[in-house]
């Protein structure tokens, strides 16, 4: 029910076209890269899929995060713009369900994006590396891993968007977080597990270091923790509103 309402709210905000455009823009990176300098990559040693993700994933992940930030800001902007959130407060709806409806919607959008992006990466690998045989489960595994690694970012960004009434404040915080994570030195494992930093990791590099359970566990825990934090935050805000 709540999901239907949230989807309806996003109807004329351009959320769906934005997701599609972002997915297409992100998928264009590997294709353009291969069209321009295919020889550089085909000469490299290693699994074709890993070569392509190494070369392109940084920028694709950044685009995904830009979409998550914009999407979260937009979803709460529609609530705050004409005091919609106050009206939601008087309805017999739990305050948290609004948040989780938006969360599920954003995660579904992200799911679609990641599936398209990994499919394009696999397609590029299959097209330019004739010896490469791809398996369906590998592609799905990679997409699923990226999704779980991006979940804490989605949760944290939605919390920021729900906490700030003005869109430029939440947008600014999101952008600043992305910026800070890109300039911090990447040598400590603790820093790498921060939200806004995990989406850059690829399955191959994490597997190489043998940290897959660690990353999945911490990202899952972070997601749950931020979700609980939002619950507490909503309660506190109600008391002081």
């Amino acid at each position: 029910m709540i999901l239907q309402i949230e989807a309806k709210k996003c109807k004329r905000t351009g959320f769906l076209p934005a997701v599609l455009l972002a997915a297409c823009a992100a998928s264009a990176f590997p294709i353009l890269n291969m069209l321009v300098r295919a020889e550089t990559f085909t000469a490299m040693a290693g699994t074709p899929f890993d070569i392509l993700t190494d070369a392109n994933w940084q920028m694709m992940a950044m685009l995904n995060m830009v979409l998550v930030i914009c999407g979260a800001c937009l979803m709460y902007h529609t609530e705050f713009a004409d005091n919609g959130i106050q009206k939601m407060d008087v309805l017999p709806v739990r305050a948290g369900s609004l948040f989780f409806g938006k969360f599920v919607l954003l995660v579904l959008a992200l799911c679609g994006m990641l599936l398209l992006e990994t499919a394009v990466l696999t397609g590029c690998a299959a097209h330019w590396f004739p010896a490469y045989t791809w398996t369906f489960s590998e592609t799905l595994q990679s997409a699923g891993f990226q999704l779980i690694l991006t979940l804490p970012t989605v949760m944290l960004m939605l919390w920021v968007a729900s906490a700030c009434k003005n869109m430029w404040v939440s947008l600014g915080i999101g952008v600043i977080l992305v910026f800070v994570m890109t300039i911090l030195p990447q040598d400590s494992t603790v820093l790498q597990l921060f939200p806004f930093n995990t989406p850059y990791k690829t399955l191959a590099t994490v597997q190489g270091a043998g940290d897959v359970p660690l990353f999945l566990g911490i990202c899952g825990a972070e997601t749950v923790a931020f979700g609980l934090f939002e619950f507490v935050f909503l309660q506190i805000r109600r008391w002081y509103a």
Partner: protein, 257 residues
């Protein structure tokens, strides 16, 4: 209404927007790690560059590549959304003020906010360079005239980009698209800089200027001279075109409604 009084009114509107904090936060976050890791400036990885120049350029690089454009996008959101809440722009348009003038005043505010952030960056640079000098026992401070000249160049290089972002913000009413296009255009700017048609892409101008400074400080890293010729006319053309479109279409949806 005169240009100056319009400007002062626009400043009043920014009063409680917390934009100062949003501009300051990335500046502080940028310099803290570079003070803590100041010893890394001595390890130049085979590039012939003096540590003080390395400190300056590495510090400014993240700022110019990502945060300067992103701050401009955030400021355009601020400038458009403060007017849209409670139909502010509709009220402004009913006053005897030329919409084009109003649009240009808002663009000037956008540039002034960028200048404010650049000023903060320079102050933060001197504070952190002094701190790093104290910790490392090496003089990281550069000549203020050099720093000011480079900062002024970077800022001037950001004007065409600001004009394009401002045009996007006035043309595209749906915030997700104007913001999304703006932020997404930052991502490939370094890639575009490596192609031959970089001068057509305003988002890569400030980074190009910083890279030429890098080339001057460390021979062989990048070009040492700015290629003015195809670039300058194109940049001026893009700026004028973007501002003209923004001025013509400013408040179009409000007037139609």
């Amino acid at each position: 209404m005169s240009f100056c009084s319009l400007l002062s009114i626009e400043f009043l509107k920014l009063k409680r927007s917390k934009i100062g904090l949003l501009l300051l936060a990335p500046v502080v976050m940028m310099w803290v790690p570079s003070v803590l890791n100041a010893d890394m400036n001595f390890d130049t990885r085979g590039i012939a560059i003096a540590p003080e120049y390395n400190f300056f350029i590495q510090g400014f690089m993240g700022m110019v590549w990502f945060m300067l454009p992103a701050s401009l996008v955030i400021c355009t959101v601020l400038l458009t959304q403060t007017e849209r809440a409670n139909k502010g722009l509709l009220k402004m348009l009913s006053l005897p003020v030329s919409p084009a003038k109003l649009c240009l005043v808002k663009f000037l505010i956008l540039l002034l906010l960028a200048v404010a952030q650049l000023g903060m960056t320079i102050c933060a640079y001197y504070i952190s360079a002094a701190a790093a000098s104290h910790i490392q026992g090496y003089d990281f401070l550069l000549d203020p005239l050099f720093v000011l000249r480079v900062a002024a160049c970077l800022y001037a290089g950001a004007i065409p980009m600001a004009a394009v972002f401002w045009m996007l913000a006035t043309l595209v009413r749906t915030p997700i698209f104007s913001v999304g296009i703006g932020l997404a255009s930052i991502v490939p700017s370094v890639l575009v800089l490596n192609t031959k048609i970089w001068f057509l892409y305003p988002m890569s101008y400030p980074f190009y200027l910083l890279m030429t400074e890098y080339g001057k400080a460390a021979p062989g890293v990048y070009e040492t001279q700015v290629q003015w010729l195809p670039w300058l006319p194109v940049a001026v053309g893009i700026t004028i075109l973007a501002l003209a479109i923004a001025a013509l279409r400013f408040g179009a949806t409000e007037r139609r409604a």
